[in-house]
Subunit: 326 residues, 2 copies
C-alpha cells in the first residue's frame, strides 16, 4: 500500500499548493473577487461555451483612478506644475501668463480657475519643445524624488495593488493587458513597464503633436505644443479600434470618461466583463463619485449595473489599497 | 564503441536537419541573404556584444512594394475604384464629380489627372459612411474574387514570398514584426494576419476619421470622410513612437516614403538593420525606382548605402517573387 499512500499525499500537497497560490491576494473574499475569477475561468476553459482563444484575450485598463491614484489632481498635472516651477527658477521670464504664474506658485486653485485653457498652457510649456527622450528623462527624475502631498508616497508607489495583481493574473491566463488612458503616452511609459508589467506598445493614451527633425545631426522625435489626440470618452473606443483593432474582452475604468470604452466592450458578442472601480474608501484613500471634479462617476453607477458591469467597492472589496502600503 | 557511434550519428543527422531547415528558402544564395542571417545571428546571440534583449526586438515593415506588389497602382485604390463601380451600378446618382465618374468607368488615367483631390474623393466615398465591420466585410468579399490586371493572381497572392519568410524567420528569433504602411489600417487588417502572420495590433498605417455612435441600439465605430493620419514619410517614425514607443532594430521599405523610418531606426545606438527592396526585376515583376509614379525611390538608393542600409536587388536576391507563384 505504501506507493499508493505516497501518491495520495503528493496529490493532497499539490492541491494545497494550488489553493495557496491565490492570484488576487489583495482582494477581499467577496462577490467581486469571485466574479472576476469565475469569468476568467470560463473564458480560458477550452471545454466552456464561453471559451475565448488566446489571441482574442484583450483586456484594457484606464490608468488614473483605476490603476493608480488621481487625487487631489492628476499626477501628470503635478509633474507639469513642478516642471514649470523648475523652469521658472532657472528663467523667471517664462512666466508670461496668469496660468504659468499660478503653476510656478503651486497655486492649483488659481490654475483651476483659469479653466482648460490655463491647464493646457501649463501642459504645453512643461511637455513640449524637447525630444521625447529628454522629456522622459525629466519625468523619470521627478518620479524618483517627488512625493504625494497627502500620502507622502512616491507617485509610482500609489498604484493599486489589487489591480496590479489583476493585471498579472490576466497575463498568466494569456490575456494581453493594455492601458487606455487619458494620460499622456510619453509620460506613462516612463513607469508603466516597471509598475504594471505592461510594455510600451501596450500603453495607449493621449498625445501632443510630434515632429521628426534633425537635431545635432541626429533624427529626433520632438514634442511640440498642441493636442494630437485626447484619449477620453468616445476617443477610447476609437483609439482601441485604431491601435489594437480588436474589441476587448475585459474593460476596466473608474469614471464616466471610461463609459464609452466599457459600453463598446460589453456590447460585443460572447463573454465580456466590464469593471468599474468605485472610490468608496474615505479612510484608506478618497471617497468620490458623481460630484467629484476629477474622475466624475455618474453614468457608470446609474447604468453600469443594468448592463452587467461589475462595480468594485474599494472599501469592501480590497484588503490593500496602494502598492506602497504593503 | 557502439554507443558512441550511435551518438555521433545522431549528432550528424541533427546537424544535417538544422542545415536543411533553411529559414529563407526563397532568397538566392547571395550577400543579401548572408547579411540578414549574420545580423539576426548576432543580435540573438547572448554572448555577442550586439545582443538585443527579446523585448527590444522590434522589426517594422512597409507594406505596399515591400511585402506585396503596388503596381500599376496601390491595390487599395483598385478596391476603391471597384467599390465606386459597384455603388454606381446600384445608384448612378452618386456620380456627382469627374473623379467619381472616372472611377466608375475604371479610367485610372483620368483619375490620376484629377490629382490628390480626385483620389481622396474616391477613397472617401468608398471607405466612409459605414461601420468598420461592414467596410471590412466588403474588402474581404473583394479580396476573395478580384484579380490583378497583369498577373491574374488574387491580390493576397501577390505577397512577396521572400519577405513572408523573413517575417516568419524574425518571429522565430523572438522579434515582434510590425507593418508600418501608408495603407489604411482597416483595409490591411482584413488580410495581414493570414498573409503575414501579423496580428491586428501590430498593423500600423494611415486612417480616416472615425466616430463612436449608437447604430440600431449598438455602440459602433463608424468610418467617416476625411483623413485622420497619413502614415508616410515623417509620419512613420512619429507613428512608431506613438504606438510602439520603442525605436525598431530592423526597418524595411522600398520607397522614399520609408526613408525617415529607416533613417530613424538605423540612427539608434547598437546594432540596427535598414533594408530596402529595390524593384529590379522587369521579367518577374516591374523594374522601377527614381522615375516611378508609385514607390518612387531616389534618396534611399543615393544615401542608403553610405548609411549601411542593405539594398535588396529583387532580380538577383530572390529566387521566387510572389507567394502565388510557388
Amino acid at each position: 500500500m505504501k506507493p499508493l499512500m505516497t501518491l495520495t499525499a503528493t496529490v493532497v500537497f499539490a492541491s494545497a499548493g494550488l489553493v495557496l497560490a491565490d492570484p488576487l491576494p489583495s482582494w477581499s473574499d467577496t462577490a467581486a473577487r469571485e466574479r472576476i475569477i469565475a469569468f476568467v475561468d470560463s473564458v480560458t476553459d477550452a471545454t466552456s461555451d464561453d471559451y475565448v482563444t488566446p489571441s482574442d484575450r484583450i483586456a484594457v485598463f484606464d490608468n488614473d483612478g483605476t490603476l493608480w491614484g488621481e487625487q487631489p489632481v492628476y499626477f501628470q498635472l503635478i509633474y507639469a506644475v513642478d516642471e514649470v516651477k523648475k523652469m521658472a527658477a532657472n528663467d523667471p521670464s517664462i512666466l508670461t501668463s496668469d496660468a504659468l504664474k499660478a503653476a510656478a506658485a503651486g497655486d492649483y486653485a488659481a490654475l483651476a480657475a483659469g479653466g482648460e485653457e490655463a491647464i493646457l498652457e501649463v501642459i504645453n510649456v512643461s511637455h513640449s519643445g524637447r525630444s521625447v527622450a529628454d522629456f522622459q528623462a525629466s519625468v523619470a527624475e521627478w518620479l524618483a524624488t517627488a512625493k504625494h502631498p497627502t500620502t507622502g508616497l512616491g507617485y509610482d508607489q500609489m498604484t493599486y495593488q489589487p489591480m496590479v495583481e489583476l493585471l498579472s493574473y490576466l497575463r498568466d491566463e494569456d490575456f494581453k493587458t493594455y492601458i487606455v488612458s487619458g494620460g499622456g503616452i510619453h509620460f506613462m511609459r516612463v513607469f508603466t513597464e516597471q509598475a504594471y508589467g505592461i510594455p510600451n506598445q501596450q500603453v495607449i493614451g493621449s498625445y501632443g503633436n510630434s515632429a521628426f527633425e534633425m537635431v545635432d545631426g541626429a533624427p529626433t522625435i520632438m514634442k511640440e505644443a498642441g493636442i494630437g489626440f485626447v484619449d477620453d470618452k468616445e476617443g477610447k473606443p476609437i483609439n482601441i479600434d485604431r491601435i489594437i483593432g480588436k474589441r476587448p474582452v475585459i474593460a476596466a475604468g473608474n469614471s464616466d470618461g471610461d463609459f464609452a470604452m466599457i459600453e463598446w466592450t460589453t456590447a460585443g458578442e460572447g463573454p465580456r466583463l466590464g469593471l468599474i472601480v468605485h472610490h468608496t474608501d474615505a479612510e484608506r484613500e478618497v471617497a468620490y463619485d458623481c460630484d467629484s471634479h476629477i474622475g466624475r462617476l455618474c453614468d457608470g453607477l446609474e447604468k453600469g449595473p443594468d448592463m452587467g458591469w461589475l462595480i468594485v467597492d474599494m472599501a469592501q472589496d480590497w484588503s490593500t489599497v496602494y502598492t506602497g502600503d504593503r
